[in-house]
Structures are given as C-alpha cells and as structure tokens.
C-alpha cells in the first residue's frame, strides 16, 4: 500500500497519511514548546505485566544438571592430577573415573536439551569467542577425550605416559570447564544472571571445588583425604564470599536469589555446605563413613547452588520488574549525572 519511496533526495510519491495528525481536534499548539516531562518514576510500568524477555526453554534438570556435572568433572580432574602427583593414587583413580562419568552425563544432558539433538555437531561448525556456548563446546571437545583417556589409562594401567599427559591436559582444561558456565549464564539479558556477571564464575569455581572435594571424600580412601578436606573448607569460604558479593552488587536482580524456590534452594545449599564442610574438616579424617557422608552432602550442596542460580535467573526473566526497574533507575541516574555536569559547567 505504501507506494512512497525513500530516496536520498527525499520522498517520492508520499501520501498525506504518514503526516496525519490525530485526535478529534488539535488545539494548534497550546502546549507548544513544552519540554517532554521528565518525571522520576518511583514504580515501574509494564505491558499487562507480561515479561519483556523470553524465558529460556532450558530444562532445569538438563542445564543446571549440566553445570553441576561439568563442575564436578572439571574440579575432579584438577584434584585427580594433584592427588596423582602427591602420591595419592587411589583418590586419583577414583576421581578420574568420576570425572569421565560426570562429563559424559553432562554432555548427554546438553545434547538432550537441544531442540534438534541430531544437529549437536553443528556446535563445532564455527569457533566464536563472542559465544560462551561455542567456547564451551570447544572446551568440552578438548576436555572430554582427555578425561576419557586419563580414566581409561588409570583403570587399565595401559599407556601410563599417555595417561599422565591426558591427566595433565584434563587438569588444565577442567577448571575452565567448571567456570565458563558462569559466563554462559551471565552473557544473557536475564537480569539475575547478567547483573551477577562478575561473581558467577567465582561462585561456580567454588561450587565446583565443593563438588570435586565431595567426590574425593566419597570415593577416596581415608588416609588420602587430607587435601580434599582442605579444599572443601576453602571452597565453602570462597562460595560464601562470592555469594555475598553477588547479592550486594546485583541490586534489584538479587531479589530472586532470596525469595521463592531459588531462595529456598540457596538456603538448602548453604546448610548442606555448612554440614558437609563441618563433617569434612572435623570428622572425615577419623572415620571413613563420616568422610563418605560429608562428601555426599557437599555434592548435594553444589548441585543445590547450581539449581538455585538457574531458577533465580528464570524467575527474574519472568517478571518484567527486574528488567524494567533497573534500566529505568540507570536512565534516571544517567540523567541526573548529566544534569549535574551541565549545572556545574
């Protein structure tokens, strides 16, 4: 219907429609010259309360599970290498096997969550540093085989040299596998993930260490578990710090971490981490059963943290408040700063 054309010299074939004035009568500029009102808004508006963002269709079990298992595998590989080189072969072997299991399961979860699972190899079609998922796919492509070789060699005793090389490679890539998932979540418009973009990688590193240490306590012999107990304690401290800084810096977007299902999950995670760490530091050196129980508790704590973060993001994407209000406040602050700058000049 629009026959008009935009040309560099102006418009051709314009009809008056697009210049139309509206309303049932215009008063010819009663308000002419009035500036657009800049009213500071105390509350926020939305379109019928509908979310501004699209909530990701990711399954909690698949994606939060993927992050938990990836962390377990990655930190486990680093722990395995350290155990191997400090003369703790039984722990090293157990962790290599658990890392292989965890990374296989997590890859399966990732593929399962694809809309077109048969096309999962398209992930390796390009390498894009701007896409955390692409970076992660390549990390997995390197880490997975290394973890597999390390485990196979440890289990069979064959090719010890290759096994050692693979152990080192997995230990080098493992921590990256554990932390990149923080970037994966943070590089989205989801308020509770993006506003936490500085803290999420640290939180995930600590949570991965919790899981890895838990697995070492659960699967390794008691006489080898000294370092794992120390790692559990360090991880608990790191997690508490990262979480505290996340909740203070995320502003309004911190709210979902405190309320509803994610809030409950996070409280559970904290309690489990406390119990697990206490058990690990106080009892796990003396009793094999206590070590196994603390280890299992730490694993559960790590999983609960990942599910809490996942659900907090989903909750923040569902509610337009978390999208609109911080942006509105940001605009207001910018306008005030600008007004001040011009006032001072």
């Amino acid at each position: 219907m629009s026959e008009a054309r935009v040309t560099r010299d102006g418009l051709e074939g314009v009809r008056p429609g697009r210049e139309a004035l509206f309303g049932n009568g215009l008063d010819g500029g009663r308000r002419r010259g009035r500036e657009r009102p800049v009213v500071p808004q105390a509350e926020f508006t939305s379109y019928y309360g509908r979310p501004v963002l699209k909530v990701p269709s990711w399954e909690a079990r698949d994606i939060a599970g993927y992050m938990f298992l990836g962390g377990l595998a990655g930190a486990g590989s680093a722990l395995a290498a350290a155990a191997q080189f400090t003369g703790r072969p039984a722990t090293a072997r157990a962790l290599k096997l658990s890392s292989l299991g965890a990374i296989s399961l997590s890859t399966a979860a990732l593929v399962h969550d694809l809309g077109r699972p048969a096309r999962f190899l398209n992930m390796l079609r390009v390498a894009k540093p701007t896409s955390p998922m692409s970076v992660g796919s390549w990390l997995l492509a390197g880490y997975g085989p290394a973890a597999g070789l390390a485990a196979a060699s440890a289990a069979t005793g064959l090719l010890p040299r290759l096994g050692t090389a693979a152990t080192l490679a997995a230990a080098g890539l493992g921590p990256a596998v554990a932390t990149y998932t923080g970037v994966l979540l943070a590089d989205t418009a989801v308020p509770s993930w993006h506003e936490a973009h500085r803290e999420l990688p640290h939180l995930f590193a600590a949570s991965a260490a919790t899981a890895g240490a838990g697995m070492a306590l659960l699967a390794g012999p008691r006489r080898e578990n000294g370092p794992a107990r120390a790692v559990a304690a360090l991880a608990a401290g790191g997690e508490a710090l990262a979480l505290r800084s996340l909740l203070t810096s995320a502003g309004h977007a911190a709210e979902p971490y405190r309320t509803g299902r994610p809030g409950r999950l996070l409280t559970t995670a904290k309690r489990l981490a406390f119990l697990g760490t206490a058990g690990a530091t106080l009892l796990a050196g003396r009793s094999r059963t206590a070590a196994a129980l603390s280890g299992a508790t730490l694993l559960a704590a790590s999983a609960a943290t990942r599910f809490a973060v996942f659900h907090a993001g989903i909750a923040s994407a569902r509610d337009p408040k978390y999208t609109v209000l911080p942006q509105r406040l940001r605009l207001q602050a910018e306008a005030e700063a600008e007004a001040e700058a011009t006032g001072a000049a």
């Binding site: 809309g115 921590p175 989205t188 993006h194 990688p201």
Partner: protein, 321 residues
C-alpha cells in the same frame, strides 16, 4: 486486497537497488502515532512467511490477542488503553451532529447494549466532569540490532548478518540450543514448540533480495510501518517528532534510533507516545556481549584460583608416598 498485495506475485521485481555492490542498510521506522491497530502487518507477515498458527486465545488485554512476539509471531500489535489526554486533543471540539460528551460518558461510540464488549472503559472523570482516554497501538518487530546479542551468542553460526544489515536465522543450521532466546534484550527470538529451532523476523530476506519491501510495510494501510534505507528513515523520523511536538504532542519520542544506544542502534526503530515499557519494550536495553571481556577475565581468574587452591591444599598436606 491484502492477500493480493502480500503474496507479491502481481508486482514482480520493481527496483534494481540490489544489483551490483553492497546495498545500503535498510530497516523499519514504525510510527505508532498513525497506527490504527488493524493488524494487517501481522496477517501479511504470517501469509508471506508461512508462519504457523500460534494459538487462538482471548487475553483480555484490550484488542491484543496476539500477546507478544515469538517463534510464530514476527509482528505484534500492542494495544494500550490509558486515561491520559492524547497530546493537545480536546474533548470539546464542535461536532454539530454528535454528542461527544454523551459518547465519552458511555465509554464507547457503540451503544453499550449493541456492543458485546466495551473496551474503552472510561477512567475517573476530571474536575470538569470529562473522561479522558487514549488508545495506543504499536506494531512491534525484531529490532535487527546493530550489535545483536542473539547473533553474538549463537554457537552454530546459524544467525548471521545479511548484506542488507538485517539479522537472520539459517534454519538448516540452527540446532535449537536456545541460547539466543535469553540473550535478546527485547525478548524477540524464540524456539518453536514441536520444531525446536529458533525463529524470528527475517526482514523478509527473500523479498529484499527481489527488490521488494517487507510484507508488513507493504500491507500497512497508514504507513505506520515504513521501510527504507536506515539513514533516510532516521532523518524522516526526526522530522516527524518535531512535527508532533509542534502540534502539541510532547510525549512523542523515538525509540531505538540512536546509534550510540545499548545495542548500537536498532535497524527497526519506533516513534512512541509514551515510555517504552508501556509498550512492553525495555527502557534501556543493552547487548550483554559488551561485558564479555570482563566476564572472560573473571572466568579465567576463577579457574586459576581453583587450580591454585587445589595445589595449595595438596602442598600443605604434602606427599603421601
């Protein structure tokens, strides 16, 4: 009429802009001040792009039963009913044959008995007994961002930038990872249920290639949706805002027209008559990949800390054998 216009078979190739070198960046200027809410754009888009049905529901959100953009909704007309005066509009204009005050009091030009539903529920009357109500209508679409988050994060390279500057999904490459969905700051792109892949507006890539304007712009009866080279559209939009301001509509403002905004300027921008959030648009969208270097730094630091912590713990406890 719409069908004939939008199937495009009757017109054929009319412009030769696309032959030869790189065509200029094109986009949409959606001037919501002249939108009449007819939804011709929604229909034309569905028809041309063979977008499947996406549910028939009655939402109670004014005349908007489309709800939002999505995998199977690439144009969405928003309807907002407000008890705000419309610019300099006056309810006391002389209408010799109409008792407008009676109409306003009734809330609708259709007698209530005759209308099954009266959408224009009047707000509280003003001091002089008048009720003021305005209807905002706006056709939303993918913004075809200059810095497009969806494109940045797509791990398969399915999303790409065309020679026209638009952002398009290659459906034969997308593996349905769904990462683009939460990445978009406008909530545009979505995975289609039952299909798994991500879909959104293509700026009618096929029509552009044939020198045609997109189906929605073609179908829009009031030229609320205007298609053309982006810089020309921006100039025109500036003029339109000035015109409306002069005519006593101080609320008119452009959205997405600034090349230095959070997404580097939108390829599809809007003239709005209220704050963006009223229309369901984010007031200050930002492409999150801008913070990616910071995030990678923190991830690297966290990974090194993790390794260091594990090494330190083993150091303290020493060698076993």
């Amino acid at each position: 009429m719409t069908t004939e216009q939008t199937t495009g078979q009757t017109t054929g190739q009319t412009t030769g802009e696309t032959t030869g070198q790189q065509p200029p960046r094109v986009g949409f200027f959606t001037d919501t001040s002249v939108c009449i809410g007819c939804k011709a754009c929604e229909v034309a888009c569905k028809e041309w792009n063979l977008v499947p049905e996406d549910g028939l529901t009655l939402t109670g959100m004014s005349y908007d039963n489309t709800e939002a953009l999505g995998a199977s909704t690439w144009r969405h007309v928003a309807f907002i009913e407000q008890t705000k005066p419309l610019g300099g509009q006056q309810a006391h204009q002389p209408h010799a044959d109409l008792d407008v005050l009676a109409l306003a009091a009734r809330g609708s030009a259709t007698p209530v008995d005759e209308a099954a539903m009266t959408p224009t529920t009047p707000g509280p009357p003003t001091a002089d007994g008048r009720t003021e109500l305005r209807w905002l209508m706006a056709s939303d679409v993918c913004k075809h961002c200059t810095e497009a988050a969806c494109l940045d994060v797509c791990p398969t390279g399915a999303l790409f930038r065309t020679e026209f500057g638009s952002v398009v999904v290659q459906q034969d490459v997308c593996n349905g990872c769904g990462y683009c969905v939460p990445a978009c700051p406008f909530g545009v792109i979505e995975q289609r249920e039952g299909d798994g892949r991500a879909f959104k507006c293509t700026l009618c890539y096929d029509r552009l290639g044939a020198g045609q304007e997109p189906a929605c712009a073609k179908a829009c009866p009031t030229d609320s949706i205007q298609f053309g080279p982006l810089d020309a559209l921006r100039e025109r939009a500036e003029r339109r805002v000035a015109q409306l301001h002069a005519a006593g509509v101080p609320d008119a403002r452009l959205y997405g027209a600034e090349p230095d905004d959070g997404v580097g300027g939108a390829g599809a921008f809007f003239l709005l008559l209220d704050e963006p959030e009223v229309y369901g648009l984010p007031p200050d969208p930002r492409v999150t990949t801008r913070d990616l270097p910071t995030m990678w730094r923190h991830a690297a630091l966290a990974a090194v800390t993790l390794l260091g912590g594990i090494a330190a713990a083993h150091r303290v406890f020493g060698r076993k054998r």
